[in-house]
């Protein structure tokens, strides 16, 4: 495809728009977080800044900017300043490969994908950027020249690395089904079929559960928010950070939430696909259909952001050994099983000439097999009763 100047300009506008939307959504996630927290605790929530408190993010930002920007005396200054920015950078870079919508017809035979870059390694790109996010925390904690920060940073980094493995394995099952690493192709394979029935969630229930748990761990959200802990670490990796540098760290968490919501929607919930999109396209044309698709993806991503908050205000956090146990002895074996079982669900319909829904039946029967295995394992490992004396 020739890169025409119209296409270039449109792409530039699109990228700027995605950038702005991501930042805006992240900013309003902080407000949403507080509202959700308040409503779940039967409270009112922030309502002072503007009508219904909608200027609250603005007020928070002003507060953050106005605070004293403190740099510890013996810290390595350059890294200390650079690493919160890197945290933001890695959080924002992921959205480049998420397909936000279908093709947009710009007139004159020029069509633009509503996607930053359509590389054929899309999902690996997401992975690479996520694995870089560790540096933002690790080096930031080290540069503070504070032992508690360092401990928090190391805790965070080992948590992220542990859960990346299970996340990667759960994605591999998706890749086996679609046969491509490109996020665009992953979405397109979910589009043919009857509406939302062809979404990957129906054939990958176990994979989705693993992925969402790992997404929680990667975003450092409750119940895996161990990097920050006041009682154990005097705050965590950002103990020494103040003002907008701290703001960047906190903000990147919200960006990560939104982007991982978008990635989850792309991988498991059909991306920009929505029921009856053929009807919409036939009625109102390609552009309207694509824009509605963008809305659909945004809706799905925002729903996941809500789920992130919902879980945060429901669950207490895991203890660190429980977290590591869950990651290494729970999620990784299950995701291995999921990979094998996905292979089975692809193989069985093709070898026995069964219709397509058979693979879905096979993949859901995987849950049953997993449960039976767990029951056997549980019966073998659990002791009947331990008695403790309390005085």
């Amino acid at each position: 495809m020739e890169i025409t100047s119209t296409l270039f300009a449109a792409k530039a506008i699109y990228i700027g728009l995605i950038f702005a939307i991501t930042l805006g959504v992240a900013a309003y996630s902080t407000y949403g977080e507080r509202i959700v927290a308040a409503w779940m605790q039967d409270r009112v929530g922030p309502d002072r800044a503007g009508p219904f408190g909608i200027f609250q993010p603005l007020a928070d930002a002003v507060k953050m900017f106005m605070k004293e920007d403190f740099i510890p005396a013996n810290s390595s200054k350059w890294l200390f300043i650079a690493w919160p920015c890197l945290s933001m950078l890695t959080a924002l870079l992921t959205s480049a490969v998420v397909p936000f919508g279908d093709k947009l017809d710009l007139g004159g035979g020029i069509e633009m994908d509503l996607q930053g870059i359509d590389v054929n390694i899309g999902i690996l790109w997401v992975f690479g950027i996520v694995s870089l996010g560790v540096y933002g925390i690790l080096v930031g904690g080290w540069a503070s020249n504070n032992k508690y920060s360092l401990l928090g940073a190391i805790r965070a980094a080992s948590q992220n690395i542990s859960y990346e493995l299970a996340m990667g394995l759960s994605i591999i099952a998706i890749l086996m089904m679609t046969g491509s690493l490109s996020t665009k192709v992953i979405v397109e394979t979910q589009q043919n079929g009857a509406g939302f029935l062809s979404w990957n969630i129906w054939s990958q229930p176990i994979g989705f559960v693993i992925f969402i748990v790992c997404a929680f761990a990667e975003c450092n959200r409750t119940p895996f928010d161990l990097p920050e802990c006041e009682t154990e670490l005097i705050g965590g990796y950002h103990t020494e950070y103040s003002s907008m540098k701290l703001g960047f760290y906190l903000f990147s968490e919200y960006i990560n939430m939104f982007v991982s919501g978008a990635v989850m929607a792309t991988l498991y919930f059909g991306g920009y696909d929505y029921p009856f999109n053929e009807v919409v396209e036939a009625q109102f044309g390609q552009n309207i259909a694509a824009l509605v698709g963008v809305g659909a993806l945004m809706g799905k991503a925002l729903f996941f952001v809500f789920v992130f908050m919902w879980v945060r205000w429901t669950l207490p956090r895991f203890r660190y050994d429980q977290l590591m146990n869950l990651g290494w002895t729970g999620l990784i074996p299950i995701s291995m099983f999921n990979v094998v079982w996905t292979g089975l669900s692809i193989l069985i319909p093709t070898t026995f000439n069964l219709p397509a829904w058979a693979s879905i039946v096979v993949s859901w029967s995987g849950i049953g097999v997993l449960l039976i295995g767990l029951i056997i394992y549980h019966g073998a490992t659990s002791k009947k009763k331990t008695v403790a004396l309390a005085h």
Binding site: S76, L124, L132, Y135, A157
Partner: protein, 167 residues
């Protein structure tokens, strides 16, 4: 082409900084940056898969482990003040040998019309997968066995023996 020169200069500079940086953490970070530059070279060669894997495996996983170890060690105490003459000599001999090997290798390299033989799709995932799983299936599987053996070895080394207390 200009971009290639810029990237190469950046790569060499950061690679040199790995050696010359006094702080080991800075050294590791420069190394990470070097990996990024090399990934940039992969992109220029249209080998996107290698670029992503390079970032994930080297920059994302291995260097994090390096950082872990270096942060945990108290390097200020462990660094010997000056190396003995014998180590200096051994280092010089080793480095010199490596240099000779490199020069010999480059002299025999044919820099002529090499680029014509490589198609634009060579570095893509599909063709890479085809090569790995068809032409080089046995070596590929052997490497995975090697990894497995290494993993078992690591588990065995890390296993706590009976009666041993680590903390």
């Amino acid at each position: 082409m200009n971009f290639w020169y810029f990237l190469t200069a950046l790569t060499l500079l950061s690679a040199l900084m790995v050696v010359f940086a006094k702080n080991p953490i800075h050294s590791v970070l420069y190394l990470v940056f070097t990996f990024f530059c090399i990934s940039g070279h992969y992109v220029l060669l249209n080998a996107q898969f290698l670029m992503a894997v390079n970032i994930i495996v080297y920059a994302g996983a291995i260097m994090v482990l390096f950082l872990f170890v270096i942060m945990m060690l108290d390097l200020r105490k462990n660094v010997p003040e000056s190396k003995s003459n014998l180590t200096k000599l051994a280092g010089a001999v080793l480095g010199g040998t490596l240099l000779v090997v490199f020069i010999a290798a480059t002299r025999h390299m044919n820099l002529g019309n090499g680029s014509g033989a490589i198609g634009a799709q060579t570095g893509m995932v599909e063709s890479l997968g085809m090569i790995l799983y068809k032409d080089y299936l046995l070596p590929f599987e052997l490497v995975s066995v090697l990894f497995f053996v290494a993993m078992v070895g690591a588990v065995m080394l890390g296993k706590r023996e009976a009666g041993e207390r680590n903390f």
